[in-house]
């Protein structure tokens, strides 16, 4: 096993990896940018290496600086987490060249699956069903249009080098096609320095169901069941769960999708933990979407239903050990749900809300797992993804897991910044969610139907608020500068608060 491991990441996932390393008695090395000196992953690691200024390009995305830190700290392996360099083949290769184990697949597998069109070809060759559309990336709009006509509208335009919803557009009618192509292509060029797009037929009301796989370097591979991630906003997952309500209804689907996932991954010579994403319709048809060649944000729901520690297994695979079990040893138990907690204001168009966390109460107790990267007094930096934590629960049934999540959300209080905690409460109480009637457009439709606004405060609570206020000195009200917008407009009040938090932050830096 490795004598020391550097984690080329930040926030909750860095902490997640540190925890398993500590359990394995392997010293951990955190890395940090100027914006993260006080971050929890730096505090909790055994060692910490400074990378550079706040921008990712000069810190968490900077291969040279990360390798330099690893060599300086004598780390013999690097865990990339998710995001940042985790799916960067050049980084995986640079680690190998420097004699440092990359805790992930081979650079070659990353390359094959990193190109979305190449991944479609590999998966298809391996025998996994793919969504009808172009097998190759195209740069000309007319070529794309021809493919779209062939597949039939509506279609999806997607970036060949894509990820995270960038360079992705839904096109319902031919007249909108050219404008959508140009806009998606330029976004893809901006985001990935690669403007090529491909066309896929849109699977209406499709569910996003993904299979977690695990392969070792000796050719053994298993799947660990599915996660349903259909609750999305702007192509970003919001709630994930296992089992999928669809597969609970069609149980034989799990083995079929699991085998398709393994075929796709095998075709790429894959080892490490990985995720094969599918679109599925309610009849049980499913189509390969893409493969993520890294640990997934939502891996804890699989950990809770399988009882496995995926990070421990990643380390074991990277150290060359064979998988300690076969497919028949994998037993799924109960139901798990994950909520991604973001510093954003759902009542105000999900505006990011960085700033200082002034109060924090975290949920705990039976069946609750919190993978968090924050603490009271910490200032959420502007510079990175505003995810604060993941709240994951387990219980014997989906219904009980939902009840447990609602209980845990009720215990969770984040003060000083806006968070999306209240959004989850709304989703988890929505009858369509409770019934498991999900598709990737579910959340947008729900928010359209019932816009997320704070209900008017009950009048009988106002005298209690007045009682609290009556205990305060006059000065506590005077410390806050007057708002620039009238208090009658709640959205703007929240905006104003966000700004005040930011200004406080600027002063204290």
């Amino acid at each position: 096993m490795f004598s020391k491991v550097l984690i080329a990441n930040r926030g909750e996932i860095a902490l997640r990896v540190i925890r398993t390393l500590r359990e394995m008695s392997i010293p951990s090395v955190a890395v940090y940018s100027d914006a993260d000196r006080a971050a929890l992953h730096v505090r909790r690691a055994d060692e910490a290496a400074h990378l550079g200024p706040a921008p990712s390009s000069e810190s968490y995305l900077n291969i040279d600086r990360i390798l330099d830190a690893a060599l300086r700290h004598r780390a013999t392996a690097i865990h990339p987490g998710y995001g940042f360099l985790s799916e960067n083949a050049r980084f995986a290769q640079a680690c190998a060249d420097a004699g440092i184990a990359f805790i992930g697949p081979s650079a070659k597998s990353i390359s094959m699956m990193g190109s979305k069109t190449e991944a479609r070809r590999v998966a298809s060759a391996g025998g996994a069903p793919i969504v009808p559309g172009t097998l190759d990336g195209v740069t000309s709009a007319s070529e794309a249009l021809a493919a779209a006509r062939h597949a039939g509208f509506p279609v999806m335009l997607k970036a060949v080098a894509g990820g995270g919803g960038k360079g992705m557009r839904r096109v319902d009618r031919e007249p909108d096609f050219l404008a959508a192509f140009d806009s998606a292509s330029s976004e893809a060029l901006r985001s990935f320095a690669d403007g090529r797009l491909y066309v896929e037929k849109l699977i209406e009301n499709a569910r996003h169901i993904e299979i977690q796989i695990l392969g070792d370097r000796h050719g053994n591979m298993v799947h660990l069941g599915e996660r349903e991630c259909s609750v999305q906003r702007r192509h970003q997952k919001v709630i994930e769960e296992s089992p999928s309500p669809l597969i609970a209804r069609l149980p034989e689907l799990r083995a079929r999708m699991g085998e398709a996932a393994i075929r796709a991954a095998r075709a790429a010579g894959y080892y490490n933990a990985g995720t094969v994403e599918f679109l599925a319709d309610n009849s049980g048809n499913f189509y390969f979407l893409e493969m993520n060649t890294r640990l997934q944000v939502e891996h804890p729901v699989t950990e809770l239903v399988t009882g496995l520690d995926l990070v421990r297994l990643q380390l074991s695979i990277a150290a060359g050990h064979p998988l300690p079990f076969t497919q028949s040893d994998i037993v799924l138990r109960g139901a798990a749900l994950e909520c991604r907690i973001y510093a954003e204001d759902p009542a105000n168009n999900f505006f990011p809300s960085p700033g200082r966390i002034t109060q924090l109460a975290e949920p705990s107790g039976p069946g609750v797992r919190l993978d968090s990267g924050i603490y009271p007094g910490w200032t959420v930096p502007l510079d990175y993804d505003p995810m604060l934590a993941k709240l994951i629960v387990w219980n014997d049934t989906r219904e009980h897991a939902i009840e447990r999540m609602l209980r845990a959300l009720g215990e969770y209080q984040i003060g000083g910044i806006q968070s999306n905690l209240a959004l989850f409460d709304a989703i988890l109480r929505d009858p369509a969610f409770r019934a498991g009637n999900l598709h990737t457009g579910y959340l947008d439709a729900m928010l359209q139907r019932t816009p997320f606004t704070a209900p008017p405060p009950p009048a009988e609570l106002a005298p209690l608020a007045a009682l609290v206020a009556s205990r305060l000195p006059n000065s506590s009200a005077a410390t806050t500068p007057p708002a620039t917008t009238p208090p009658a407009a709640p959205a703007s009040r929240w905006l104003a608060d966000g700004r005040q938090n930011l200004m406080r932050k600027e002063r204290t830096r």
Binding site: N349, F350, F351, P352, S353, P354, T358, Q359, A361, L382, D383, Y384, D385, P386, Q413, G415, G416, A422, A454, P455, P457, P458, L461, A462, P463, L464, A465, A466, L467, V468, A469, S470, R471, L472, N474, S476, A477, A478, T480, P482, A483, T484, T485, P486, P487, A488, A489, P490, A491, S492, R493, L495, A496, D497, G498, R499, Q500, L502, M503, E506
Partner: protein, 144 residues
Amino acid sequence: MTRRILINGQPVDPHPSATLIETEPGVYSVLVDGVSREARLLGNDIFIDGHRFTFEFDDPRQWKRNAGAAAAHGRATIAAPMPGKVVRILAAAGDEVAAGQGIVVVEAMKMQNELKAPRAGRLASLDCKENDSVLAGAILAVIE
């Protein structure tokens, strides 16, 4: 004590029989008629069971704040909530705009965010243009 307490702009008397203790800084345990509630003080807001109550003190000896009804007829501003880049302008100076209408799109934290008019009125000035980098708190537009 001569000061009056305004909750969401309206004068409200403190509850006469509830009991209150501060358990953690800014966190209060309130017992009222056998019901247990938690109140959280954050800035000028008190949150009870997730509901926000904005409080003010209406004290004749104190500077009279005009944040209430008065301001609704005065100027409203749209400020950048964080450092970012202006990527789109959706209205022109002089336009009559509706409450909630998008005015400026700012990109920050890798997300595009539409800043909306806090209320209806005339867009008196537009103080930014596309591709401007803006600092937190910068006034981007004024509505009268």
